[in-house]
Structure formats: structure tokens, C-alpha cells
């Protein structure tokens, strides 16, 4: 038997940890997956167990190998993609976690963020790190832990404690080195977006001792060799999951964009070698950095509620029995019948940025039936995406040429057609839906020369489906005006005292 050259990808996600093996043609060979427990010890708190996640890695990797009939000797490189912003602290000598993994959804550190803003640092943080101070990012959570866990601050200053996002934690356990990749570091509120190095001023603003920090490395280089799980295999790439999806969709040119349609939607656009300023609720972030090359940046716009609106229709309204069934229901009618749904369940994100907004269903008449409501639900995802794209178009010099879509909602043809219609852009779905793992594998394979350059990766991208815009501009503008009108109805619903409580 000829020797195989497999590339392994670990996708350490919010809900589960997966291992996927790919061959040199980029084809998926096998996959294993294990979910981990979501802990919510208090309202607004969201934790994972770092030890549980590590033990899941130790299970899914051998499972994927076994399914492929492969051994670690067949694997030439390992790439890691991870849930972004979630982080923990651990003991450098024992390797034991000193905190739970506090996830990106957790809002406990709002006291820290409030203090940073009250002290007048908002603009400085935004200018230095490219992102505003927020509980979403890691720095405030580290400070919260140092404030809360006894002795932690003193031990940190003595260099006994390590901080890391999930890729750091896995690389530490696999290869015994303390590093982070630059895309993950760009989501901490601590890295200077121009220098791509820890920013001493930001460490001061958030009160983070330098001694806890990992070394910032490029996206695709050898960080070390696995001593465990895949003995001898080099770890050659790491990146945040949304950046990995952008990479897996091979959006390597300025203006190329991808949108992942899941419970929420994440739209990232490659903006080239200069970071664009965050504005209108868009975030400036590192897309990837290859060794010896100029960094590549992205603008990111997220929509909080897309697939989760459909789940709400299923679980809270009983409108449909399954999430995909929303399409069948929506197809029982030809249009929305005048009904518009704005799912501002916890305020509006980019580009409206209104925490006081709440959801509305407007335009109801006796004519409106369940089908119209289902249409309105799907159109809400399309129009929210259109709002983000419009904000991005306002910052980019060139128009987007198409949108590469992935995620579970791409099997919904009515939604994807509506997205194409309201964006007036071709929407394309790639053959390999697992774009996060694909991106990690591509970067890892690129690192060890399985693929020679970005062009050879670009050639691996395969179109599985495409949707061309069919809506005339008159209809589009009329519908856009009505959607905007509906959004205005949702804005400012809570009075300020309610907002604080939320």
C-alpha cells in the first residue's frame, strides 16, 4: 500500500469538538465529533470545562483515524480551528485549568468593560485593537478572573499562570508550547491591530500581567510536534473559526466574502493588507497571516438572530415542527402578504447598533396567514444580511462580486434565493459544507507544502449550488423601504431602565 498523506483538522467549536481528516485532493476522508456540556451557573454566565474538551480531543482524533483506517504516521499535518474569544487560565507547572472556559457568550465581565469605558479608554482601545471594549472579547474576562480567584493575580505576576484561547489550550496539551495564532489574538482587546503584537497600553488598560500571555504566531507555521494524540505530527496552523471559514471558502482576494448562516450569521469580507476601521457595528479583524507575507485583514459583520428565529418559531410558537419546514410553509404563499418580522430579541447589531430595540411583527392584516409569517421570518435573515452588506459596501472601495454561503440554512433554497435577490448578488454554496475544518486543513497543508500556494487551494473550491438575483430593482427598493420602516418600529422599544436590566 502506498503511503497516505492525510491532513487532520480539529474544530473546537462552541457546541462540540470535531476531528476531520482530508486527503491531498482536499476530499473529506472521515469525521468524528463529540459534544461537550454547556454550563450556565448564573444568568448571563456561559462556561465549558477545559478538561472535558481536552478529553474529547483525545477521543475524536483516534475515532477519525480508525474510521479512515489510518494511523498517526499517515497524518502529515494538524490544523486547529476554534470557537473564538472563549478563554481560560491554567497552571503552567501542572497543566491544570485554574478557571472554567468562559465563553464568548458570557457577560459576567461587564463590570470590567463598564470601568474601562468610564475611565475614558473606549476610543483608545478601538484605535489600538481595532475592536471596541466588550465582554465579547477575552481581556475583560481575564481581568474578572484575576479580581475574583484568590491568589491568581500574584501567581500570574510570578509567571506561574498561562492564559489562552482554545487553540492555545489545545496546542499546550498536544505539544507543550504556549502560543496563540494572530487571528485569535486579534479577538482579545489586547493585540495591537497594526503591530500584531501585545499592546503594552492595552495590558495597562485592562490590567493584564504580561507574564500570562502566549507568544503570538502566524496562522500557518509549525508551532510544535504533538507528543500526545497524534505523536510526531506537527501542528502547522491555527485560526479562529470564522476566519477558518473565510480561508476554507478561499476568499483570498480583496472583496471576496463569505457568510455562515447558522443560529446567527457571520459575514466576513477580505479587505486586503490594511485594517479598515471598525464602524457601524462592523469589526476590524485579522483574516490570516502567512509567514513572511503581509497580513490580510477582514471586516466582520454579525447578525445575532437568523436560524435562532426559525428555532423560536418551532419551539415557542409551534409554527413549524422542524426548522427546515419553515421553507415548506413559506412556499404555501407567493409573498409576505405585507408582514415583516424584525427579530431584535436582544437589541439590534450591525449596522443599527441599538441595545434598546426589541422584536416586532408588523404589517398584520386579516389577510396574513402562517405562510406569510414564515416568509417574513426568512426575509428577516435576508434583509439583516443586506443591512450588513450595505454597511460593508460603505467602507470598501470596490463592490462585492458574489457571496459565498455556508452553514445549515444553505439547504433552504427559498432563503438563499431571497438573499441573492435582496443583495442583488450571486450567492454560491461550496461542495464542502464544513468550511471551518476545511480552512484549518488548508492552512495546515499549505504550511507543510501539501499545497504549494493559495492558488492551488483556490482550485480546490467547488461550487455545489448557486442562486442568481431575480428580483427587479423596483421591487427590491420597495421591500427595502418597508424593511427599514419595520426596523424603525423595533428601535428604542425599551426605556433606559429596562435596557440596563437586560
Amino acid at each position: 500500500m502506498t503511503t497516505r498523506r492525510l491532513i487532520a483538522a480539529i474544530d473546537q467549536g462552541t457546541g462540540s469538538t470535531r476531528c476531520l481528516l482530508f486527503d491531498e485532493s482536499g476530499q473529506l476522508v472521515s469525521m468524528a465529533q463529540r459534544e461537550h456540556t454547556q454550563h450556565h451557573p448564573q444568568p448571563g454566565w456561559s462556561e465549558h470545562d477545559a478538561a472535558e474538551i481536552w478529553s474529547n480531543v483525545r477521543r475524536v482524533v483516534p475515532e477519525a483515524l480508525a474510521d479512515a483506517g489510518a494511523t498517526p504516521a499517515d497524518v502529515v499535518a494538524l490544523g486547529i480551528a476554534n470557537q473564538r474569544e472563549s478563554c481560560l487560565l491554567w497552571d503552567r507547572s501542572t497543566g491544570q485549568p485554574l478557571s472554567p472556559v468562559i465563553t464568548w457568550e458570557d457577560t459576567r465581565a461587564s463590570v470590567v468593560v463598564d470601568r474601562v469605558i468610564a475611565d475614558g479608554h473606549h476610543d483608545a482601545v478601538l484605535a489600538a485593537t481595532g475592536i471596541p471594549p466588550s465582554t465579547y472579547f477575552a481581556a475583560s474576562r481575564v481581568r474578572w478572573l484575576l479580581d475574583t480567584v484568590p491568589d491568581l493575580e500574584q501567581r500570574s505576576v510570578r509567571g506561574e499562570v498561562a492564559f489562552g484561547t482554545m487553540e492555545s489550550w489545545l496546542i499546550w496539551n498536544l505539544a507543550g508550547v504556549h502560543v496563540t495564532d494572530v487571528t485569535n489574538a486579534s479577538r482579545t482587546n489586547l493585540m495591537n491591530i497594526e503591530a500584531l503584537a501585545w499592546d503594552p497600553d492595552m495590558l495597562g488598560v485592562f490590567g493584564i500581567p504580561e507574564e500570562v500571555l502566549p507568544e503570538i504566531r502566524t496562522t500557518a507555521e509549525t508551532y510544535g510536534k504533538c507528543q500526545d494524540v497524534l505523536p510526531g505530527v506537527p501542528i502547522t496552523a491555527a485560526m479562529g473559526d470564522q476566519q477558518a471559514a473565510l480561508f476554507g471558502q478561499t476568499c483570498f482576494d480583496v472583496g471576496e466574502s463569505k457568510c455562515t448562516f447558522g443560529t446567527g450569521a457571520f459575514l466576513l469580507v477580505n479587505t486586503g493588507h490594511v485594517p479598515r476601521r471598525s464602524q457601524a457595528g462592523l469589526l476590524s479583524t485579522v483574516a490570516y497571516v502567512l509567514p513572511g507575507e503581509e497580513p490580510v485583514f477582514a471586516l466582520e459583520g454579525s447578525v445575532a438572530v437568523t436560524g435562532s428565529l426559525v428555532q423560536w418559531c418551532r419551539d415557542s410558537l409551534g409554527l413549524v415542527t422542524t426548522a427546515p419546514g419553515i421553507e415548506t410553509l413559506a412556499r404555501t404563499v407567493d409573498d409576505n402578504g405585507g408582514c415583516y418580522v424584525v427579530p431584535a430579541f436582544s437589541g439590534l447589531y450591525a449596522p443599527h447598533w441599538d441595545p434598546a430595540a426589541r422584536g416586532v411583527i408588523v404589517g398584520l392584516t386579516s389577510f396574513v396567514n402562517r405562510g406569510h409569517l414564515a416568509r417574513g421570518v426568512l426575509e428577516a435573515t435576508a434583509w439583516q444580511t443586506a443591512d450588513v452588506v450595505a454597511a460593508i459596501q460603505g467602507v470598501l472601495d470596490q463592490p462585492l462580486l458574489s457571496l459565498r454561503a455556508d452553514g445549515g440554512m444553505t439547504t433552504n433554497h427559498l432563503l438563499m434565493q431571497t438573499v441573492a435577490d435582496v443583495l442583488d448578488l450571486r450567492v454560491e454554496r461550496p461542495l464542502y459544507a464544513e468550511t471551518v475544518s476545511v480552512g484549518a486543513a488548508y492552512a495546515a497543508g499549505l504550511s507543510v507544502g501539501v499545497w504549494s500556494d493559495l492558488d492551488s487551494l483556490r482550485r480546490l473550491w467547488r461550487r455545489a449550488c448557486s442562486w442568481e438575483p431575480q428580483m427587479d430593482s423596483e421591487t427590491r427598493e420597495r421591500e427595502r423601504a418597508r424593511w427599514t420602516h419595520a426596523v424603525e418600529r423595533a428601535q428604542g422599544w425599551m426605556d433606559s431602565s429596562d435596557t440596563v436590566r437586560a
Binding site: 415542527t321 421553507e327 461542495l431 464542502y432 448557486s466
Partner: protein, 250 residues
């Protein structure tokens, strides 16, 4: 079946047809599908409507099952089927390098419910929603071979699309018998002269065929000789995976 009340049988046939359709059906569609005169079907529909089991769309006059009937006679939702099938269709396309279709029986035609492009980035058109003739396509033959007898008779006159299209009732019958025996059906230039296809059934938890899974491409790429085509093995494996995904999501 002696002793069965004919009117109940007919009403049940109408109700299950209407309930399993993905859209409201007109009187003519229903009459054609259950093979009864329009006047008879109209009477059945009027009665079912007065009981409250069937509803009529106000603007179009088309019929659909009442909400209370959901779960009683409702077939597999097409969107659920598509969601369960897509990952396996993707990997089938990657594996074979061919275009992949998933089709369902819709009245007396097949309908493409999911389409994965031939993975070569050539310009292609999305064919979801397209109707397929049952006698001239591999997918259609699979659907027909496992449908209730007599469905073929409803096709007014089997249309000849190419010189290879089978239009003789006996020839088609033999072909369907072969498809049932082999577990797959083949189309060789019968719908479009330059397109060949192989299809297998996708079964639900009861083992009943609910859809046809097909790969399509030029004849040479499907290695259609005298024996079993190479693509049958990956097709059957993918269809099995889709079935298991349906049980899990059910």
C-alpha cells in the same frame, strides 16, 4: 379487497394525496392522481371539507389538508428531506465527479428537490423545482417502479424526448421490473441525448421509497456497459446514509 367500503377508500386516497403534497392541489391534479372522474372527486372533496379535514385556498380554489390532519397523513416534509440529504449528496458529487439529483414523486411527475452541481465549477443552472418525466429519467423510473401500480397509465401519452426514449408501455414495464430486481435504474440518453443517469431509491424508516437519488453525466463517465455501473455502490451507500439521517431527524 371484498367488503371494503369504496367511498371510504376513495376518500382516504384523496386525503392522503392532499396531505402529502407540498402545495395545495387543484381538482384536476387530484382527479388525475387518484384516477377518478372529476365529479366524483369533487363530491369527496366537498364532503371532506364540510367535515373539516380539508381546506380550500380562497384565491385559487386549491385544496390542502386541514392543520388537524398534520401527522395523520402527512408525508415527509420536502425541506426536512433536503436538509438530511444534502451532506451526503455533496460527498457523492465529490466522490463521483458527477451531478447529483434528489427527486420525489409529485402527482404523475418527478420533481427535483435538491441538486448538487457537477463539481467542476462549470456554469450550471439550479434545477430544484424542475419536473421530470417518469418514463424517461433514471430518477423517474425508480419512483415509478416503487409507486402504486397504474401510475404510468395516468401519463397521457409517454412523450418521446430522444430516439432512445422508451414510449412503449411493455418496454417501460420491463424496464421497471428490471429496476425493482436490480435496485437501481438507468437512463441512457432518453431525456437529453447527451445525458445518462443512474438512480437508486431512498427509503424511509418503514422501508418505503420516499425519493430517488441519482447521478448524471455523459455516458462514458458512468461506465454504462452491460454489467452493474460502478456508481451504483457509492449511490447505494449515500442513499443508506440519507435514510439513517431521516430516521434520526424523524
Amino acid at each position: 379487497m371484498p367488503g371494503n367500503v369504496q367511498a371510504v377508500e376513495r376518500a382516504a386516497a384523496v386525503l392522503s394525496l392532499v396531505a402529502s403534497a407540498s402545495r395545495p392541489l387543484g381538482l384536476a391534479d387530484i382527479a388525475a392522481a387518484v384516477d377518478l372522474p372529476k365529479s366524483t372527486v369533487h363530491g369527496l372533496l366537498t364532503t371532506l371539507r364540510s367535515i373539516g379535514w380539508i381546506e380550500q385556498d380562497r384565491p385559487t380554489g386549491a385544496y390542502r389538508a386541514a392543520r388537524s390532519m398534520a401527522g395523520l397523513a402527512q408525508g415527509l416534509d420536502v425541506a426536512d428531506l433536503r436538509s438530511a440529504a444534502t451532506p451526503w449528496m455533496d460527498s457523492l458529487a465529490a466522490q463521483t465527479g458527477l451531478e447529483v439529483h434528489l427527486s420525489r414523486l409529485e402527482g404523475i411527475e418527478g420533481m427535483v428537490v435538491q441538486h448538487v452541481y457537477r463539481p467542476d465549477n462549470s456554469p450550471q443552472r439550479l434545477r430544484v423545482g424542475e419536473r421530470l418525466p417518469l418514463h424517461a429519467t433514471a430518477s423517474g423510473k425508480v419512483l415509478l417502479a416503487h409507486a402504486r401500480p397504474g401510475l404510468l397509465d395516468l401519463e397521457a401519452r409517454p412523450e418521446r424526448f430522444t430516439r432512445h426514449t422508451l414510449v412503449d408501455e411493455d418496454e417501460v414495464g420491463t424496464e421497471l421490473e428490471q429496476a425493482r430486481t436490480d435496485g437501481y435504474a438507468v437512463e441512457v440518453g432518453e431525456y437529453y441525448p447527451d445525458v445518462s443517469s443512474v438512480a437508486v431509491p431512498v427509503r424511509d424508516a418503514l422501508g418505503d421509497p420516499v425519493a430517488a437519488l441519482a447521478v448524471l453525466g455523459p455516458r462514458a463517465e458512468l461506465t454504462l456497459g452491460t454489467g452493474r455501473p460502478d456508481v451504483v455502490t457509492p449511490l447505494i451507500r449515500a442513499a443508506g446514509s440519507i435514510s439513517r439521517a431521516l430516521w434520526v431527524s424523524a
